[in-house]
């Protein structure tokens, strides 16, 4: 009977698609299949595009196109004076999706918010282990269990988060994908009927688009949420046509089989730009690729040595050869699209002669070192091996011999954490929540030594600044981060290499698309002209 019901519904939808000549359909050639539709279970951007960015909302949202936050399902929030209590006032009249598998009987309330977080926080919540291996990666990765003391329902439309310590980036964390708000009513209904795993297969949210159907590795179908609290979208039907090969995505775009595609091959960008029917948007990615010296091992414990090596690196050659134009030279550890980016910082100039002299003055001669090259392609470093080879050549010009080493990716990540590591490591970072703390504290703070701080660098002046910046208004915090970037450049624990440049080709018919510096793909506010 159930099968017949869905058959009927899909037939109806198909006839709607066939007859509704005026229905606007946007086809997005996505790069892969989502792992599931519960964003809190996963960490991949592909999954988030298909779930949190279409189906769900969060208490606070990123203003699309920026790393700043704005009200979402919470109309407003208050912070206690000591910065440990956040009280969220929910938006009234927000409706969950009505689909062929669920009809909500009530609007969004505090129970939904509490459910969405407690399932990740509390092991006795029935949904804590509703799929085998549920490990709530991001919730744990952002240290939420240490941070959250309790989540309280003040009244039906008010929720209070009590924290163990003041942590200003907490608000940005709540705009992240794992913090998507689910319907408790739907979850309860699924639990009753013994179909809990459907929460991850047939999502119900409050977002701009509602889920219609998914065929693995082929297509995901959505339609505009007619009751969306921020007004119905202009597109009626949104289709993700899953196309894993970049060249094939490009063919589909030029053949008009899809309207928007992510991640073109860098070598194809020029051809796409030359195509009159296609518009190529571009933006720096929220990432940084770097070479981290081990500041605990001589002679890299000397600032002058690190500075000299930085001056020996020909970044432009790296940008040309490794990034093929899809990169921008980095001077700060945070990307330029992030608030508090200090543009007045001057990068170390490329000057092998001066570098050689500096090394001599520092008493370093006949230096040989290792450079670790990652075995995988990452957005912040498309070819680490090639990059290491270029550096090897650059360093040889100042009399430094380089041996390139590499390990399997998992091993590489583990081994590079060691405090007595031999050599400088090529690595990078992609931002999670758009907060500078997510770069500066995680990658360069004293707490990260022996872990995510691959330079093993603990500088008191720098650490004081970023600790102080954990609370206060955004303006106050930005000032501290700007100062921290000056200290960073002076001390040079890393050679900052590049930020990737992300290209987004789309049909010229598509209007209103905004590139997300956080790397997501949003179809909110997008329209298509016939």
């Amino acid at each position: 009977m159930k099968k017949f019901g869905s058959l009927l519904a899909t037939t109806m939808l198909a006839s709607m698609l066939a007859t509704g000549a005026y229905a606007k359909t946007l086809v997005y050639c996505s790069e892969g299949s989502p792992e599931g539709f519960d964003p809190a279970l996963y960490t991949a951007g592909t999954t988030f595009d298909a779930s949190s960015k279409t189906v769900y909302n969060r208490l606070v949202e990123f203003k699309i196109g920026t790393t700043e936050t704005q009200p979402g399902l919470a109309e407003s929030y208050d912070v206690s004076d000591d910065g440990t209590e956040y009280t969220f006032h929910l938006r009234p009249g927000v409706k969950f999706h009505t689909t062929d598998f669920f009809t909500p009987s009530r609007d969004l309330n505090a129970d939904d918010v509490i459910f969405s977080f407690e399932r990740q926080l509390k092991s006795d919540n029935p949904y804590n282990a509703y799929v085998e291996g549920a490990s709530w990666e991001y919730f744990n990765g952002m240290s939420m269990p240490d941070l959250i003391k309790s989540i309280e329902k003040v009244d039906d439309m008010t929720v209070k988060f009590v924290l163990n310590r003041a942590e200003a980036p907490f608000v940005a964390n709540l705009a992240m994908d794992f913090a998507s708000i689910m319907s408790k009513e739907y979850a309860d209904k699924l639990a009753e009927s013994g179909a809990m795993s459907d929460l991850n297969q047939k999502p119900v949210g409050t977002g701009p688009y509602q889920f219609v159907a998914y065929q693995p590795d082929a297509v995901i179908r959505y339609k505009a949420n007619p009751d969306y609290w921020n007004g119905k979208e202009k597109i009626d039907d949104l289709v993700f046509a899953i196309t894993t090969d970049a060249s094939v995505r490009q063919q589909k775009l030029t053949a008009g089989e899809c309207h928007v595609m992510p991640y073109p091959n860098p070598a194809d960008v020029q051809a796409l730009k030359d195509d009159e029917s296609i518009n190529v948007m571009e933006q720096e990615g929220l990432n940084v690729g770097y070479l981290a010296y081990n500041t605990k091992v001589a002679p890299f414990d000397k600032t002058e040595v690190r500075k000299a090596l930085n001056m020996a690196i020909n970044k432009q050659a790296i940008l040309d050869a490794v990034f093929q134009g899809a990169g921008q030279a980095a001077k700060n550890p945070i990307p330029p699209t992030m608030w508090s980016y200090n543009d007045s910082v001057e990068d170390d100039p490329y000057d092998p002669e001066a570098a050689k002299k500096m090394l001599e003055e520092a008493g370093v001669s006949d230096l040989s070192m290792k450079i670790w090259a990652m075995p995988v392609q990452r957005p912040y470093n498309p070819n680490a091996r090639r990059m290491a080879e270029l550096m090897q050549e650059d360093f040889s010009k100042v009399g430094v011999k380089v041996e390139i080493v590499s390990y399997e990716w998992g091993e590489y990540l583990e081994k590079s954490k060691a405090e007595d590591r031999d050599g400088a490591v090529l690595l990078g970072w992609t931002g999670d929540n758009g907060d500078p703390d997510n770069f500066l504290a995680v990658l360069l703070g004293c707490d990260g030594v022996g872990g995510s701080n691959r330079a093993q660098w603990c500088n008191e002046e720098f650490d004081n600044l970023i600790q102080k910046a954990k609370s206060g208004t955004q303006e106050e915090r930005a000032k501290l981060y700007e100062e921290a970037q000056v200290v960073f450049k002076r001390e040079a624990p890393w050679a900052t290499i590049a930020h990737s440049v992300v290209h987004m080709p789309m049909s010229k018919k598509v209007t209103g698309y905004k590139m997300d510096p956080l790397g997501g793909h949003w179809f909110t506010g997008v329209d298509i002209s016939e």
Partner: protein, 334 residues
């Protein structure tokens, strides 16, 4: 015949256990583990790492893990994907029909063209026709699939716009999956044009996937035919005054077919390997890409479950081939 069948089935069991050991060991022999890889640059604390190891049962001795795994398999439980958290068997069943449909079409194409081409080459041995057929077969045999697929897409989908670029059916058509075979489902849907769309999507991937098996089958048919044609009984048949069609079609072909059927059976493995690349190029939602992704992510349960299921399929096909032998050559049945 029943004894023959039983003997063949009996052989399947040790093979299956052997494959399960290889599948289990293979992915664990690769350096790196799924937990570290899932965490990526973000990393995972030592306590959390241990907790997750315990949750997946990776902390137990390897023998215990294997025995538990085998026990689960015997109960039909192939485990849950570490990455997607969905049952492996469910994912496999959802994706396999697409691979099967493509493989069947490819093997039909390869056989339908390969056998006649091989016969023609053998009959006209040394002629221009023979040399052209074998030349083309050699090129086909050495064709890098990835490059060949892109070339066809650029020509037929890009320049000429005769065929769609990728996928199984136009996005305009939308109907529930009944059999999982798009050709059948599109007919069942009753939607006008759906079947045509499904066929047009199948053309290029079928050609690409069939290329190598076609070349192999053509070459094998040719050499088998040449051997048979020089046999005494063929000469006898000819001297008896039988027409060339009767000699070749009835007497020679039937005996030449035995090694060819073996070859076709062996091509199933080649097809599944080729499907991995073909599916990637044409965004074909089958098991090839699913397996490759899982190896990269060290998704133990998918890799070992997937390998075992695929191996099971190949064993079944080989069994079928053995049965077909029996039909062609009654002597083998004994």
């Amino acid at each position: 015949m029943i004894r023959f069948l039983l003997r063949k089935f009996g052989l399947l069991i040790p093979t299956f256990i052997g494959v399960s050991i290889i599948a289990f060991a293979f992915i664990r022999l690769l350096p790196g583990d799924p937990i570290t890889l899932l965490a990526g640059e973000r990393g995972v604390s030592a306590e959390r790492y241990e907790a997750l190891q315990a949750a997946y049962g990776f902390d137990k001795p390897i023998i215990v893990q294997y025995v538990n795994y085998l026990g689960d398999i015997l109960q039909g439980d192939f485990g849950t994907s570490i990455v997607t958290k969905r049952p492996v068997l469910e994912e496999f069943m959802q994706l396999f029909p697409a691979t099967l449909e493509l493989s069947i079409c490819a093997i039909i194409l390869a056989t339908a063209i390969g056998i006649p081409a091989g016969i023609l080459a053998a009959v006209r041995r040394g002629s221009f026709t023979d040399q052209s057929i074998m030349g083309v077969a050699l090129v086909g045999y050495s064709m890098p699939i990835f490059w060949w697929g892109l070339l066809l897409i650029i020509l037929f989908s890009g320049v000429l716009q005769w065929t769609p670029v990728s996928g199984r059916i136009s996005l305009l058509y939308y109907f529930p999956q009944v059999t999982g075979f798009m050709l059948i489902d599109s007919l069942l849907s009753g939607q006008a044009g759906a079947f045509k769309s499904a066929v047009s999507h199948l053309i290029l991937p079928t050609i690409v996937l069939a290329t190598i098996p076609l070349a192999v089958i053509a070459r094998q048919t040719r050499s088998a035919m040449l051997e048979v044609l020089s046999e005494d009984y063929v000469r006898t048949a000819r001297s008896k005054g039988l027409g060339p069609f009767r000699v070749i079609g009835l007497h020679a072909l039937r005996n030449a077919l035995i090694p060819v059927v073996t070859t076709i059976g062996l091509q199933v493995g080649v097809l599944l390997a080729g499907a991995i690349l073909t599916e990637s190029i044409f965004s074909w939602p089958g098991i090839g890409k699913w397996m490759v992704d899982s190896v990269f992510k060290r998704d133990y349960s998918v890799v070992q479950g997937g390998l075992l299921l695929i191996a099971g399929m190949i064993m079944l096909v080989n069994l079928l081939v053995d049965l077909v032998y029996g039909l062609i050559n009654p002597r083998i049945r004994r």
